[in-house]
């Protein structure tokens, strides 16, 4: 279970999160919505432990452990996975090399045996197929020259391979057409399980047609302004974020 | 000399018909002997009624100069200059000019016409001495200048000649003169320090945004710029000033060697924008004559978060040797250099910039566009360096050259020195010719080849053009077309 209490975060000396509280029980999917600048992406980065995001007050615990005390790779080993809004391109690192390095690093940290090369390849190909990822793509440098949809599918592939217990999806739907959204959503839904929790950050309700959340939280000015069931997302679709300090869509 | 208060006062005193004599006689009667010596330096200083400290300063520079050698590293070639054959203090030519427009070289007039310069200004620029018109014109500009002056005074901005500032604001001059370009700096800057004639002085007090573009354009109409111009601009804390030098019209001058020095000082949060359009006489079709333009321009971002931006359009002179630079000393300061350098005929340009990152979080940007045509040689030479303490220094450089014809040369010589791991430097340069496809496309749409080239070149330099003050953009676009005439076909 993820517990965020009174979280205050500064970026470049400016306070972005101003006392955010959130509880995400295992087995549930929660959506985080909100106008631009409300702190959605900041929350994602803070969960993953990015530098430059200075926590000035509050706490984040995951399965009872202090997440803030861990560095990014320790968090990943502890099961935190962030699907980036803008996945980075790394020329010179083949996607397959990257995947194997990451999977084995995480397995090692979790006290599991590293996968043999044939086992690993089989594992990746199987998962890639589900996400309609061309095996040739895996030979190319990580995300270099990938289309927007390919990058996002690659993120979901990594999520599948790393077997996280907390999935954070940061605007994974942005820039995707409806077919791509469906593929990504299928990938996410396939990972739903009683011991896994997900946080789906999105600006639009659209994605939530495919990934139906248990709860929806609306962020405004660095806090959770309102929480509700899936119907809250539909309501926002109607009314926009005007009441939360955002411009009408 | 100058300036404006003085000028206005004197013009008011004298009768219009006496003006042309009255105004100049006093200078013309005194001419230093040919050649350079300690006596000549003393003579210049005495004529200007300078205080002892300035004379000492000039003498120190002169003595230093005697021990120095002309730089040979630039990619320019010219016959050796005999420094004893030059005059270091002489009056503007007032008697040798053409008597009317009919006496002026028709090619020059055609040039003015293409630039769209009004007739009155054409006469001025060509140095026509037929008095009435010139004086009217002077009156015109004087009146403009006067309004100007009043508004500046209201804001507390000091804008006058250096000579005047030496008298009226000696503390400021003494504090800042030579503080950016020391007298030991380089051969030509040292020479300038010994014999500088005059130039602009600008001081913008703390927190003041200078209400208008300052320009030498007005000053040129009222007086001749000297051979050894010296400009000093200081933006005090939080101040802003934009300064414009030169004009698009080709300037005739009898002095072949020009060795100017420009010093800029920006204190905390201050910003200086310095724009130059240089179109001195480039020499004739066979490459004879033409100005040697050996200029030292440097800005010191002395204060935190200060910013200095150089923009230059260099189309004139036989030889240009010029590297407007920024010393990024203040934390978070920023330097910019935008340049268009066009060479045609037998012109030689060796120009670029230096961005010296000394302070933390400093950034700089260089955009250089060189166009070589005819038999010319066009070199970009630039230095970007980050010193040990300049953590997080950033530079981005783009340096593009365009060649028109197969008799010219385009060269790129950047020096990139990173002594700090957190410095991020990116440099890219390309050299190419105008694409045949682009040219064909334009021709098919009915443009002549020259029009097409002008159009394409203007596109090529667009990033820099946008940095120019609005009123200069249109003129400069025309100038680019004219500078490239005869380069195709």
């Amino acid at each position: 279970m993820l517990e965020i209490k009174n979280l205050h975060v500064n970026v470049d000396g400016r306070e972005i999160l101003k006392g955010l509280d959130l509880t995400l029980p295992a087995g549930e999917v929660h959506a985080i919505m909100g106008p631009n600048g409300s702190g959605k992406s900041t929350l994602a980065y803070v969960l993953a432990g990015k530098d430059d995001y200075e926590v000035t007050a509050g706490s984040i615990t995951w399965k009872g452990e202090d997440l803030l005390a861990m560095n990014p790779s320790e968090r990943a080993a502890a099961g935190v996975f962030l699907a980036f809004q803008y996945p980075l391109e790394i020329p010179g690192v083949a996607t397959m090399t990257f995947l194997r390095t990451a999977v084995n690093a995480v397995r090692k940290a979790r006290g599991e045996a590293e996968l043999s090369t044939p086992d690993f390849l089989r594992f990746v190909r199987e998962k890639a197929k589900l996400l309609k990822i061309d095996p040739d793509m895996l030979k190319r440098p990580l995300n270099v020259g990938f289309s927007g949809g390919e990058k996002k599918r690659n993120e979901i592939l990594q999520m599948t391979l790393l077997d996280p217990s907390l999935c954070v999806l940061d605007e994974t739907d942005s820039g995707l057409d409806i077919d791509a959204i469906r593929i990504v959503a299928d990938g996410v839904n396939a990972l739903r399980s009683p011991d896994r929790a997900s946080l789906v950050i999105t600006h639009y309700q659209r994605l939530l047609d495919y990934i139906v959340p248990d709860r929806v939280h609306v962020l405004s000015d660095g806090r959770v302004a309102r929480s509700g069931g899936p119907e809250l997302a539909l309501e926002l679709e109607e009314t926009g974020y005007a009441e939360f300090g955002g411009k009408a869509a | 000399m100058p300036a404006v208060q003085e000028t206005v006062a004197r013009v008011k005193e004298i009768d219009v018909d006496k003006y042309k004599y009255g105004f100049f006689t006093d200078i013309e009667s005194v001419k230093a002997p040919k050649g350079l010596s300690e006596d000549v330096v003393r003579f210049i200083s005495a004529k200007k009624g300078e205080p002892a400290w300035l004379l000492d300063w000039r003498l120190e520079a002169y003595r230093r100069w005697l021990t120095m050698h002309e730089p040979t590293w630039a990619n320019v070639h010219y016959p050796k200059i005999d420094f004893q054959e030059l005059y270091y203090y002489s009056a503007p030519k007032s008697t040798e000019g053409p008597k009317s427009l009919a006496d002026v070289d028709p090619e020059l007039l055609e040039y003015y016409r293409k630039l769209g310069i009004p007739l009155v200004e054409q006469k001025l620029l060509a140095g026509v001495k037929e008095s009435r018109v010139a004086v009217d014109a002077v009156f015109d500009s004087v009146s403009v200048v006067t309004t100007f002056k009043e508004e500046l005074a209201k804001a507390g901005v000091i804008f006058c000649s250096v000579s005047e500032a030496v008298k009226t604001h000696p503390d400021l001059v003494r504090k800042y003169l030579g503080s950016v370009v020391p007298i030991t700096d380089n051969y030509y800057a040292t020479l300038n320090s010994a014999v500088f004639s005059d130039g602009s002085f600008v001081y913008v007090p703390p927190g003041v945004r200078c209400p208008m573009e300052l320009s030498t354009y007005f000053r040129i109409n009222a007086e001749q710029t000297g051979q050894f111009e010296r400009t000093l601009i200081i933006a005090d804390k939080g101040a802003y000033v934009s300064y414009l030098e030169g004009c698009t019209a080709p300037m005739r001058d009898e002095n072949q060697l020009h060795a100017a020095v420009v010093e800029l000082v920006a204190l905390d949060d201050a910003e200086i924008k310095y724009s130059t359009v240089q179109n001195w006489y480039p020499g004739d079709k066979s490459g004879k004559g033409g100005i040697y333009n050996f200029v030292t321009k440097r800005g010191d971002c002395r204060g935190a978060r200060s910013k200095i931006s150089w923009t230059q359009v260099e189309t004139g002179s036989a030889i240009t040797w010029k590297y407007p630079s920024c010393i990024l000393r203040g934390e978070g300061s920023r330097g910019e250099f935008y340049s268009i350098a066009i060479s045609n005929g037998y012109q030689q340009i060796d120009s670029g910039t230096k961005m010296i990152h000394l302070g933390k979080d400093t950034s700089s940007r260089i955009v250089s566009k060189g166009i070589a045509a005819g038999h010319s040689n066009n070199t970009y030479r630039g230095l970007v360096s980050a010193h040990r303490r300049a953590s997080n220094a950033r530079n981005f450089t783009v340096c593009d050259s365009l060649l028109i014809g197969d008799k010219c040369g385009a060269h790129t010589v950047p020096y990139i020195e990173a002594k700090n791991a957190s410095a991020t430097f990116e440099h890219e340069a390309t050299t190419s010719k105008i694409s045949d496809d682009q040219l064909f496309y334009c021709l098919q749409r009915g443009l002549s080849e020259e029009e097409a080239v002008a159009l394409i070149v203007n596109g090529f330099v667009r990033d820099v053009l946008q940095q120019l003050p609005m009123e200069f953009m249109a003129e400069t676009q025309k100038l680019i077309g004219i500078s490239l005439e005869g380069s195709v076909g």
Binding site: A102 | L403, T424
Partner: protein, 450 residues
């Protein structure tokens, strides 16, 4: 510009003159007028130029005169024994194990006992010990020696010509295609500080295709001062791949010059990989002498401690329709200093030239330094030329991305460094060699290679 005549000489500058005077009559080819004249002219040029220093534009960032205090005596070859284990130690196991025709130069001497001269001969490649060949150079050697892209202004090259004692001369016959690379292994010796001055001459005749790997390593000699020159003539339609793997001793001075001349429709691919020596200067002078040729000159250098490594390239497009590419990547740690100078010159009339150059450095420590000077000098209009240069530290966003995937920081950094260098290593087409280079860079980083 007239170069001022050198009047004052440093101790080391004078020492080279003395070294030459002392050895003059014992140097190979002393009795051959052609060789003796070459040497005499070269020492005269050196005497005029002196050691290069920072006021010489091409040596702005590597002040050899200031850095060189002593000149060590020329090493006398005494047939030191070298076994496979020592080779592997000197070069790195992955490099020593490359399948190839081996030619081994130890103490400046091409060792017949360690070299596969017969194997090469059977394939149509003539191999001579330069030391022996200088006594009476065959005509093909006479027409190449000190005549490939000659330079008047290079004191290091002049010293090599004056003092060269050994090396290998190779003639790859017309239309010969080799099945394996030629691996020219150049080791020092053991014992006291010494200078090794070697010269290799390679003539790749028309239509030939070969790979030449030059590797440098140490048997433990202290204070090595190496001056090595390789001259290459790549003939019409010939294709030569040329590698340099430099792992000289930690305290070594490594001065290396490649002089390359390409005939028409020729292909030259070079790659230099440097991790060794205290002070290294890698010069490449390449000239296109025939139309329709292409060259790629790339490399990587990995530096730490107080190492100083300078790569200086000059590519002369003297004729139309040639293509050149350069990509150099450097990783600089500690207080090390990397220098890259690359100049592309396009002569008048050399239309349709296509020249591109990139250099980049990754600085790993606060005190690391990278100086770069990419230059274009262009006198023809119908060309496409460009260069780029970058320097910076490891991208923190990339590092975070990897860490967020569970890769610990140290490992993530190593991966990014390997990727950075790998960008250049990718240029190497030969898989075994590419793999060996990737392993060598992983070895330098102290990480496992996958």
């Amino acid at each position: 510009m007239d170069l001022p005549v050198q009047t004052f000489r440093t101790k080391a500058e004078q020492a080279y003159l003395d070294l030459f005077e002392g050895a003059r009559n014992a140097l190979p080819g002393a009795g051959d007028p052609f060789v003796a004249t070459l040497r005499a002219k070269a020492i005269e040029a050196y005497g005029r130029l002196g050691l290069p220093h920072r006021r010489i534009e091409a040596w702005k960032y590597t002040d050899l005169r200031a850095r060189l205090d002593e000149v060590n005596p020329l090493l006398k070859a005494d047939g030191v024994a070298v076994d496979d284990a020592e080779l592997a130690r000197a070069l790195g196991g992955e490099i020593a194990a490359l399948p190839a025709y081996r030619l081994v130069v130890v103490e400046g001497d091409l060792r017949a006992d360690l070299s596969d001269i017969a194997g090469l001969k059977a394939k149509g490649v003539e191999v001579l010990s330069l030391g022996q060949a200088l006594e009476k150079p065959p005509s093909w050697l006479r027409s190449a020696l000190a005549q490939v892209t000659p330079r008047e202004d290079d004191a290091v090259l002049a010293l090599n010509t004056a003092l060269m004692t050994g090396g290998a001369a190779l003639r790859i016959g017309a239309d010969v295609t080799l099945d394996k690379p030629i691996h020219l292994i150049q080791l020092d010796g053991t014992g006291e500080p010494a200078s090794i001055v070697t010269r290799n001459v390679v003539v790749a005749e028309s239509g030939s295709a070969a790979t030449l790997i030059e590797s440098f390593g140490s048997l433990g000699l202290r204070g090595l001062q190496r001056n090595t020159v390789t001259e290459l003539k790549v003939g019409h339609k010939a294709a030569l791949k040329h590698f340099k793997l430099q792992r000289d001793g930690d305290d070594a001075l490594h001065l290396s010059t490649w002089l390359v001349e390409l005939g028409s429709d020729a292909r030259y691919d070079a790659f230099q990989f440097s991790t060794g020596a205290a002070l290294a200067r890698n010069q490449i002078y390449a000239r296109f002498a025939g139309q329709g040729s292409a060259a790629d000159m790339s490399g990587a250098f990995l530096l730490r401690g107080q190492q100083h490594c300078d790569t200086t390239l000059l590519v002369e497009h003297s004729v139309p329709r040639c293509t050149s590419r350069e990509l150099f990547k450097g990783v600089i740690d500690g207080e090390a200093r990397g220098v890259f100078q690359g100049k592309i010159v396009v002569s008048p009339g050399a239309q349709k030239t296509d020249g591109k150059q990139m250099s980049g450095a990754l600085l790993l420590s606060e005190s690391a330094e990278f100086d770069s000077k990419p230059e274009l000098e262009i006198f023809a209009d119908d060309v496409v030329c460009g260069h780029g240069s970058t320097s910076g530290q490891i991208d923190r966003d990339l590092l975070f991305y990897l860490e967020a995937r569970g890769i610990p920081e140290e490992q993530a950094r190593a991966l990014l460094i390997q990727a950075f260098v790998g960008d250049a290593i990718e240029r190497v087409e030969d898989e075994a060699l590419r793999d060996a280079l990737a392993r060598a860079s992983a070895g330098w980083l102290g990480v496992d290679y996958h």
